[in-house]
Structure formats: C-alpha cells, structure tokens
C-alpha cells in the first residue's frame, strides 16, 4: 500500500524562507506527521518540527496543512488523494523560529494575565463538594490541549499584529469562562475579560470552534456566555443602579472583582 507522496514543506527562519519539494514514501494508515518524520530521518535531518505525543493529546504539532490549521498527528493521509501534493507551513500568526516551529510565547504571556482559581475553605471534613452537572461546563473547556490553533486562526490577531497587546484570544476566553463557571471560585474576572482580555473584539465568526481538534464549542459555550456575563455586569441598568446605591449586589454573587 506504500506510495510516493509529494510534499512541499516550508523551510526557513525569521529572516525568510521558501517551500521545499520532497518526495517521500508513505503507507496506509499514516498521518502527515509520519511523512514529516520520514523526510527528517531520510532527507533532511535538520528539519525542525515540534511534536510530542503523536496522539492528539499534547497539542504540540500544530501547523497549516494545505492552508488549514491542523494537528499534523491527527491529519490522515487517507483524507487526501495519493497524487495530491500536501503543503505544510508553520502557523502564520506566530513568528517563525525555524521551519515548522513557531514562537508561541504570545500564549504563555497571555496565560499569566488570567488570575488563578481562588477557592473558599474546604468543608469541615476536609473535602469539597460540587455536583457533576456543575463541573461539566468547566470540564469541556479543560479538554483544551493548548495547541493554539484557535489563537492562530482568530483573525483578530492573525491579520492584525497590533491587536495582540490587548486581546488574549479564544484559548484564554475559555479560561475566563471556565473560572467564571467554576462552582467554587471566589473571584470576578468579568471586567478583566473585557479590559485586559479584549473579549469585546471577538465578533463570533466561530473560526476558533471550527479548528479546535478537541471539538470544544469555544464560541457557543464559552465566548458568547462570557460576553453576556460581561455585558450584564456592565450594561444592565438595574445592576448598574444597584451597584451605585450599594443596596443591590446580587450580580457579584459575593465574588471579589479583580
């Protein structure tokens, strides 16, 4: 079942580069990452590529395959015609380090800006109690493997480098939403999601949801509810009046704003 696959792989660094042509033998059941590894082992020992688990669980091997943001380990060759040329390029939103490896430090910087979970004391018996139905919303978001494909595809930063400063991106809207929906958390990060996170800049085109390899409904289940929560806090006139006169504070749910 083996055949010769034609590949075009971007080679270069921050100073520039170009697509290189490679013919590589592949076989049934293989994925794009297998083909890349074979090129590396037989033709280009110094071809730079990031990968770890090769099982869609670690989110390291993100790249663009024929222009689509994908995990290379979950991108099966059987989804392409054998005679089709497969072009692999690095994620476009992040600066190239070398070949298919990009500098994703943007994401690690943004991660630092979200204040951590802040629980109350444990119950008297030293345990905590939460209902399954209440943890499930957060659990969906915690399936995130941090492949940063959503960050890569989000046009707010993909096409507008300047926005990076004030926009934390879909991955971290997930994080804001996860904490906001955590049954035990004591902080209110809604203001922060808007001011530092820039959640208002998202115009819900759902590109992030489309590329998520974990099939997390990022837009519907995290970003839109989070936008509503931010808007409620800020623009609901009753809440606004209550907060001014200081007698009606249901909205804060006794959380501390950060």
């Amino acid at each position: 079942m083996a055949y010769q696959l034609k590949m075009r792989i971007w080679r270069g660094d921050k100073d520039g580069g170009a697509l290189g042509d490679y013919d590589v033998e592949v076989s049934e059941g293989e994925v794009v990452l297998d083909a890349i590894h074979r090129v590396q082992a037989t033709q280009a020992g110094d071809l730079a590529v990031r990968w770890n688990c090769k099982a869609g669980k670690c989110g390291s091997c993100s790249a663009e395959v024929n222009g689509k943001p994908r995990l290379m380990c979950m991108c099966r060759l059987s989804d392409f015609e054998p005679e089709e040329t497969i072009t692999v390029t690095p994620m476009r939103t992040f600066p190239v380090i070398r070949d298919l490896v990009t500098d994703v430090s943007f994401n690690y910087e943004k991660a630092k800006e979200v204040p951590a979970f802040a629980p109350p004391e444990r119950d008297a018996d030293g345990k905590r109690r939460m209902m399954q139905v209440d943890v499930e919303r957060g659990q969906e978001f915690r399936k995130c493997i941090e492949c940063f494909l959503c960050q890569n595809t989000c046009h707010v930063v993909r096409d507008h480098e300047d926005n990076k400063k004030a926009f934390s991106g879909p991955r971290f809207f997930l994080r804001f939403a996860e904490l906001d929906m955590h049954p035990l958390d004591t902080l209110d990060r809604r203001n922060l999601a808007q001011t530092e996170g820039g959640i208002g800049m998202c115009n819900i085109t759902k590109c992030c949801t489309e590329v998520c390899p974990e099939h997390i409904k990022i837009t519907d289940n995290a970003i839109i509810p989070m936008k509503e929560r931010v808007a409620d806090r800020k623009f609901d006139p009753v809440v606004w009046l209550g907060s001014i006169v200081g007698i009606f504070n249901r909205d804060s749910e006794e959380r501390d704003e950060v």
């Binding site: 293989e30 110094d46 090769k54 345990k127 659990q139």
Partner: protein
C-alpha cells in the same frame, strides 16, 4: 542586554517563552543562571517538586525539553490512585499499601509504598484546591474508578484524560506562583563539586546556545526510557535522560530489568502502533477476547491472585454492580499478568488480523456510557483508526509503557547517592517494585515530587546556613560543551536516526516482554556495536533548532539505559512482575530479597551490576501480607510476538 542572575524579576528581560537572554557577556562566556533548586522536567513530578521548593522558599527553576504543558503526564488517562474512600468508605492507606506491594510482587521499597499510600489522598485534594475539576460522585465528592490490582474503586479521574487535567492544574499553579520556566532547553550534563551537585549544563533547543545553571541542588524528573523500544506508548522525550545523567554523575539505578508492557496498546494502523488504550476500558466493563470470541483471561489466573479473582463469567459480570459479594474479573489483574496472557494468545495463533487481540466494550455498554466515560478513546479510535468503539471491538496488543527501574533514592527525601541530586517520578526507582499498578504513577509524581522539593530546599538552606557553598568547575563546563558539539565535527559518519531505529528494533526483539539468556546476550553485543557506531555519528546543518543534533545527544542516554536494562535482565534469573524469563519461568524466593543496582564503570564506557538486599519491612507492616509470596509460574509463557515484525 543586562545579564540576570536567576531572580524572578529578571524574567522580563529574557525571551518570554524560552527564558533565553541571548547573551554571552558572562565572564565565563556562556549564559548563567543562579538558583537554589533546579528541576529538570516539567511533567507531574517536576512541576509538583518545583511548586514545593518554591513554597518552601527556594529560588526555583524548571528546565524542560518541550513547551510547558506538553510533558508525557498529559498522556496519562485512567486516574490517580488515592484511598480517599469516597466510593468505598472501607478503603484506606493500608489496603492501598497492600495492593501496591502485591502488585509489585513484594519487591517494592516498602517505605515508599507506605508514604505513597498515606499521602496520595491529600495530594489529590490539593489539585482540587488549585482548580482541577474531577468527576464527581452523587454526593458531590471526587469520584473514584476501578483499576487493575486495586481492591477498591480508588482512582480519582476526569473521564479518560486525567493526566491532562493534572498537568494543566500544576502548570497553572506554577505560573501563578511565578516560577521560572526554561522551555525547550535540554540538560546534557550535571556539574559537581566533589561529591556534591553544583549545577547543570544545558542548551537551548531554539538557538543551540549553551546555558549554565549554578545550583547546589538538582531534581531529576525526566520520566522514562520507552523510546529505546520500537513499540511504545511513550513520546520522543522518553530517552532516559535522568537515568543517564544520574549514572554519569555517580548515582546508581535500581530495578532496571523491570519494564512495564501495558497490555493494551493500539496495533493498527502502523503509525499509531503502541499508542495507549486506557485500562479504564476494562475498569468500565470492557473484556478481552481472542479470535475465537473466547474471554480467555479466565485461563490465565495465577495462583497468587486466585483467591480474589472471579473464576466464572457470571461472577465476573456480577462484580461490576455488586463488589461485596463477587470477585474481580480477571481482565483487571495487574498489567504484567494481562500483558503476558495477551502475548500467549497471539503467539498461539488466536490473534486478530492485525496481530492483536480484541478489547470489546461495544457489546457490553451503551454508546452513551462509552462516549461519556471514555471520550478520548472514542475520539482516538474514530480519528486514527476509523473504528467506532461503541459498535466494534478494538484491536490491541502489549506496548512498552513504563520503567519501574530508576535512580536509587532515599525513600523519605528522594535524594540519590550524590549529595544535592534528587530524582522523582518515573526516573526514580523502588516505589513500584517489579510491576506498577495503574493509577499509582500519578500519585507517585505528586507525593514524591512534593517530598523532593521540600528536601532539596532544606538541604540548600542548611548548606547556606553552614556558610559553605558549592562552586561550578569551569573546566567541566568546557568539557561538557565540547562533548555536546562533537557530532558536528565528525565527517562521513552515520546519521543518528538510523542508529536509533536499529536500537529500538533490537530492544524490542531481544529485551522485550519475554526474555531469554541467549537473546539478552545477543542484545548486549548489539548495544556495544551501537555504541561504536554512535561514536562517529554525524549531524548535518547548524545548531539552531536541529532535531538531528538533539537526537544525537539523547541517543547517548538511550544507549546507556538500554545497556542497564539488558544487563540487569540477564542477571535476574527468575520471572517476576515486568521481567519475564522464558528460561526461568517462575519467581525465585532468593531473588525476591534483592535488588540489582547499576552504576557507571570507572572508565565511563559502560555499566556495572551489583546485588543489594531489599530493605526489610518492619513487623507492623508485615501483618498485611498473611499469604506467602508467589511460588508457582504465573502464566503459560511463549515467545515474544511484538518483536518479530518486519
């Protein structure tokens, strides 16, 4: 750019992702950072150790080969074993301790097994304090699931992605605490001042530049060795770095002959051969069948576990709903037993078309149940093999998964024979004896990670209080750099990928799940030949993000670790846990009282073996083991099967 010296405030002046200052303005010519505790590895053990060291007041750094959050812990699926008693109130540390020791065929370091069983519940609760969202019981407590070898449902879990939850929680905690992380940075050598650790030398994968860590303590948390085998569930990082660094620094390894072959790895398609299929499939009702449709595990119940294992399908099936009045299904025997049984069935010609056996949950549970309890497995088979596990059985076979052996450490502090050098998690040895129970690894990472972080900090404080210090020897730093770039100097040699592939094939064929003296001897000859070839391997290109060079450096570690495994496996003339000798099919009581210890030979060219008596369990713990250790051959044995593929 101004040089910074290991203070967290200097972080801003470094590259935000890699921490690289890109400066060689240091007097010594290379970038240098000063810390109290340097942790190598950012999986569960490394992160937990770093958090503990930080909390104890140490200036702490984490150095890891990959990006933060990508370490192999992310692959752990089933759960964290901890006797919290949320599902079975009668569970407690004593039962967990007994299960662990019996699972390890009594070769475990009893003290480590005890500490682990006692402290795991609080370590799990801590994760919840830091934001982990575990699955719940009806009462809202952390739910616990069944796993092989554990008497009670004991594994705290999140679906079948517990490792991801654990690493993300620890990662977020470490970030919140502001611990310095040096990502994509590989340590190639430990530095010493006399018999004490003085630091470590590494290089940035991004630039190929060297970086020196000036630190009186180093905690190894580098994980396992699986990449020395062809069929493995392990990622590229698992090249035995910690094992090899410890050996070269003068520490010893124990139990290296014990390698765990997980019974259920994917066998098809070829590109994912070895990829893990979680034990939770069996814990949640999945059964093993051969090509004749027979549930064969009933034919493989060893004497040692007969009293607690169901001997009929009816009893086994009742157990899922009524655990008090029925015994466990044989599918949930410890991993070594199940892996050998699968191996025998395949060998006997009752395997599947792709050379595995069937793991069937489709005929036993509803599609909704399967998708809810095993979402990653559903996803993995659907996307990678085109198999819908809610309607079809999976094809699976044994895969190299875990090494029980590792750096010999003090049970309470995790300190090695080298002062200031600690080892935790998979790269340490002793805790799991000859076979690890599923779910005991994640607990191990947390319990001993915390202990090592605290012990290392206490050591450094005492060192500083005494007014003494350790100094990095610049000659050693220079020598380590020369050695690291040597593959660029060679001309006409072989490429490291070829040597690695040959090593993996050879280890799989000759040092695999079933071993014989002849094949082990053959493997040692082969390893010597690989070592020769590696001396002249050549790397193309330059030092900037060059995977060929990275592999060339890792390969040195894989070779020394492979030699350790093969030599220890040849010496242990018995079968026990993760070490099965076709020529010595039963356990030997004389071998049940000793460990094999591995050290580097004085020339530094190979390893030496020593026997050492097992630490003796105190009487108050002996009472948990009223039944004698196993005396019968555990299962019918056969030739390896994984190994004969082309």
């Amino acid at each position: 750019m101004a040089q910074t010296f290991g203070t967290t405030s200097g972080m801003n002046e470094r590259h935000p992702m890699t921490g690289n200052v890109m400066s060689s303005s240091q007097a010594t010519g290379i970038e240098t950072h000063t810390y109290d505790v340097v942790v190598i590895g950012a999986g569960g053990a490394g992160l937990r150790a770093a958090i503990a060291a930080h909390d104890a007041g140490a200036r702490t750094a984490i150095v890891c080969k990959s990006l933060l959050g990508k370490a192999h812990t992310v692959m752990a699926e089933g759960g964290i074993a901890a006797s919290m008693g949320n599902v079975y109130p009668e569970d407690n540390w004593e039962v967990h301790f007994r299960d662990t020791m019996r699972g390890g065929k009594m070769l475990n370091n009893w003290r480590m097994a005890q500490l682990h069983a006692q402290e795991a519940p609080e370590r799990v609760m801590e994760l919840e304090d830091w934001g982990a969202l575990f699955d719940r019981t009806d009462d809202g407590l952390i739910s616990q699931r069944d796993f092989g070898g554990h008497k009670y449902a004991r594994l705290a879990h999140v679906g079948d992605r517990t490792g991801l939850e654990m690493i993300r929680t620890l990662q977020q905690r470490a970030v919140a605490l502001g611990i310095d992380v040096f990502m994509e940075c590989t340590v190639t050598e430990l530095l010493k001042d006399g018999n004490r650790i003085s630091g470590a030398l590494g290089y940035w994968r991004e630039t190929g530049r060297f970086v020196c860590f000036d630190s009186p303590s180093v905690i190894l948390a580098t994980g396992g060795i699986g990449k020395s085998f062809k069929v493995t569930s392990n990622s590229w990082e698992y090249t035995g770095d910690g094992h090899a660094l410890a050996l070269r620094a003068g520490a010893s390894l124990i139990n290296m002959e014990f390698v765990q072959f997980h019974p259920t790895g994917m066998v098809w398609p070829p590109s994912v051969k070895g990829l893990l299929v979680t034990e939770s499939v069996r814990g949640d009702g999945g059964v093993l069948k051969n090509s004749e449709g027979k549930r064969f595990m009933f034919d493989y119940i060893p004497e040692f576990f007969k009293a607690e294992t169901a001997d009929s399908i009816e009893e086994a099936d009742r157990w899922y709903d009524d655990k008090k009045n029925n015994r466990r299904p044989p599918e949930l025997l410890p991993r070594d037993e199940v892996a050998r049984a699968i191996n025998s069935e395949i060998k006997a010609g009752r395997g599947t078309p792709h050379g595995g056996i069937y793991l069937d949950i489709a005929s036993r549970r509803t599609p909704e149940f399967i998708r809810k309890r095993l979402p990653s497995m559903y996803h993995q088979f659907k996307e990678l093999a085109d198999v819908d596990i809610t309607t079809e059985p999976m094809e699976i076979g044994p895969t190299c998964h875990y090494v029980m052996g590792g750096v010999e450490v003090d049970a309470d502090t995790q300190e090695s024979a080298v002062t200031g050098l600690y080892a935790v998690g998979e790269c340490s040895g002793g805790m799991h004896g000859s076979n690890r129970l599923g779910g005991n690894s994640l607990g191990d990472l947390l319990v001993f990670g915390k202990r090592a972080g605290e012990a290392a900090t206490a050591y450094v404080k005492a060192l500083r209080d005494s007014g003494s210090d350790v100094v990095v020897n610049q000659e050693d730093v220079k020598a380590a750099q020369v050695s690291a770039v040597a593959p660029f100097e060679v001309e006409g040699g072989e490429n490291p990928y070829t040597i690695q592939q040959d090593l993996q094939q050879s280890m799989n064929d000759l040092v695999g799940i079933i071993r014989t003296a002849d094949e082990l001897e053959e493997s040692l000859v082969a390893i010597e030949a690989f070592k020769k070839r590696a001396e002249t391997m050549v790397v193309e290109g330059h030092r900037q993000y060059n995977p060929g060079w990275h592999l060339a450096l890792d390969l040195r570690n894989m070779l020394i670790v492979s030699e350790s495994i093969a030599k220890a496996a040849l010496a242990r003339r018995e079968s026990r846990g993760g070490h099965t000798r076709d020529d010595f099919p039963g356990p030997d009581p004389a071998w049940g009282t000793k460990n094999l210890v591995v050290t580097l030979n004085p020339e530094g060219t190979g390893i030496e073996l020593h026997e050492k008596p097992l630490p003796e369990m105190p009487d108050e713990l002996k009472k948990y083991f009223e039944t004698p250790p196993p005396v019968e051959p555990v299962v019918p044995l056969a030739e390896p099967v994984e190994t004969k593929e082309s």
